[in-house]
Amino acid sequence: METAANPNGLRRVAIDPVSRVEGHGKVTLLLDEHNRVQQARLHIVEFRGFEAFIIGRPYWEIPVMVQRLCGICPVSHHLAASKAIDIALGIDQVPRTAELMRRLMHYGQIMQSHALHFFHLCSPDLLFGFDSEVARRNIMGVAQAYPDIARQGVLLRKFGQEVIRLTAGKRIHGTGSIPGGMNRHLTPAERDELATQVPQMLDWCSAAVELVASLEAQNKSLYENFGRLNTSWMSIVGTDGAMELYDGVLRARTAEGETLLDGADAQDYHDLIEERTQSWTYLKFPYLRSLGPEAGSYRVGPLARVQNCDVIPSQRAELERQRFLAHGPVHATLSYHRARMIEMLHAMEVIGELLGDDALIGGELTAPIPGPGSPDRPARRRGVGIIEAPRGTLIHDYAIDDDDLISECNLIVSTTHNNQAMNDSVRAVARDAFDGREVSEGLLNQIEVAIRAYDPCLSCATHALGSMPMEVNLVDAGGVLQDSVVRHGDGSFERMPSANPVGVAERVNP
């Protein structure tokens, strides 16, 4: 269903833009005369250029500059870049205080992003129904019908944002993490202010897990089958196999739970993952090299992490994980929501634990940076920073030249890993839900519900520089296609036969 066998005469329906996601994307459907979907695609239509324009900038600017990729998860980029630059500079370990401050910032980020996604973006679908009254299907509607839930969502996010502000300097786009460590401690007053709120936040996080679990129980069949896919999973885990969101090793498993790779060093990600492109979207399609482009796609994010780890190293979240996986592996796309709330609970438990550590309010903040002529300075300065961002595994890869400027950059952003899965979920819903029914707003929202489950951040994901293929169609007053010209990704132009307005050029990255 990625490409219709014969698009001639098919009716085109577009969802543009996809709403209640981060960034801009659209879905196009080609329907036959019986309203059956012949082609379904999620297009990411934003264009960014970070991988190109940070080349030639000094390395100490990068953690601050690249976080502008995103306004929702800037901390993830801030920290992934910091970790990569540290490695490139030959800094094996930042001081303990800096490590704890970075972890606190990161878990605050996980928490606020998960709260935002569930309460503000998705709870309207789940509480009111996918095809409920559209005017009510938003956070304001939730605030009217379920004021306690809306209030808890807003305050949970606020707490996460406060954690970020006190560690990074600002709620959005701070500067806390610098090469070699951090630039600030918490004051005792700041730590205490956060610590007093922890018990309340933990209770609200537990309530959120319970809420999704009860919604699932009320409509078991829907939650199990909607946009369901059987895919492999990838995430980082701790070296002991436990859930670890700040730093760890790569693990991938098949849908059946068989290990594809484990304990893999992030520095070698290039040997493990390959990316391919499609002409109709800015978003790349990564896959596991060992399985190839057809079978190698996988999913990342909360549902991958909760299942990939052997244990969640915090009490309440681990109990919820066991309950969640009591009947075996979970592949339902809507189960992302429950996994996300389990992670939010875990992040909150970690924050509570970190706040009890006095190293946050004193101690060394930065490791010395080996300068020119230092024996500790690596001959080839390259580093890969890997972190579990709210939406999944995030990889930053940089090389630094002799003048301290960035000479190479590659970013693989969480949403990119889920690109194939999001497209497949869209097609699964298109196949199951549409099936000849008259197209309505509620039906189209079901497509969006499937995309939203992955919590995609489309602006993050389209960071790459390239030449976007473009298609220009000349349609006469009667709606009949008269001419069609396609500009391919390599910049070449081609006049398409008028019977085939949808030009598809596929190429694999070298």
Binding site: G56, R57, P58, W60, E61, P63, V64, M65, R68, G169, K170, H173, G174, T175, G176, I178, P179, N183, R184, T366, I369, G371, P372, D403, D404, L405
Partner: protein, 250 residues
């Protein structure tokens, strides 16, 4: 003691004072970018333009004399200053969100003080190089505002003449005196006074960006117009900050 009036207040001056030096000694803020208490007069930026007995003049190059009635922070003059600042912003590439000088930048702070809320003009986006050849200091020409502070510092205090202004009109640019044109091949040293005098993020030390947290940067502590004169006078102050010590005396 002789006096002139600045926005209606009497300001005492000594023989040889400019309007700027006398006003700053008394703690009055006259907006400026290219003036420094330890360096000679320049009049490059014109942001210090005031009205002296009704006529426009640069406060940093106008000799103080009795019976001068000087207008400084008027709506009309601040609007002219804002215009100058807006032209400076679009002429270079000033991306404050990714600039480590943000919060510590005289151009940014002065723009805030003058009420600048947008670029007004279309950006030029010039294609300018970056010189990171020197092991300890780098130059981002994107951010240079041609204030000539580094030129004067290198000449008058360091006695090295490392920097000069070359070209004409829109092609005017900062040049480095070395066979290759690169900083590494010049007589420049990170200990030079010129290394720490840049009011914007054009000449900066290497390997130490963003070390001062948000809320603790120079203009987080006080807006440019409220900065204490003596506290920031590089000629009288011990080097207590960790930016290299040669802050401009705003």
């Amino acid at each position: 003691m002789n006096y002139f009036t600045l926005d209606g207040l009497e300001v005492p001056f000594e023989e040889g004072d400019t309007l700027m030096s006398a006003a700053r000694r008394e703690g009055h803020y006259v907006p400026h970018l290219c003036w420094h208490p330890r360096l000679g007069q320049s009049g490059a930026c014109r942001v210090c333009t005031v009205k002296v007995n009704g006529r426009l003049a640069a406060a940093c190059t106008t000799r103080a004399s009795a019976d001068q009635m000087v207008e400084n922070r008027t709506t009309e003059l601040d609007a002219k200053r804002r215009l100058l600042l807006q032209m400076l912003f679009v002429e270079g590439n000033h991306f404050c969100p990714g600039c480590e000088k943000s919060g510590d930048c005289l151009l940014q702070a002065t723009a805030y003080e003058m009420g600048m809320t947008g670029p007004r003009f279309e950006e030029f986006y010039p294609d300018r190089p970056l010189d990171a050849s020197h092991p300890d200091t780098w130059i981002d020409f994107d951010r240079c505002i041609l204030c000539k502070l580094c030129v004067r510092a290198s000449t008058e205090i360091d006695h090295k003449n490392v920097f000069a202004i070359g070209g004409h009109g829109i092609d005017t640019h900062l040049v480095v005196d070395s066979p290759s044109g690169k900083l590494v091949d010049s007589r420049f040293s990170a200990d030079d006074f010129a290394a720490g005098v840049c009011p914007v993020g054009a000449i900066l030390p290497k390997r130490r960006g963003f070390v001062i947290p948000i809320h603790e940067r120079r203009f987080d502590r006080a807006p440019v117009a409220e900065e204490s004169w003596l506290e920031n006078d590089a000629s009288t102050r011990e080097s207590t900050d960790d930016t290299g010590g040669h802050d401009e005396g705003a």
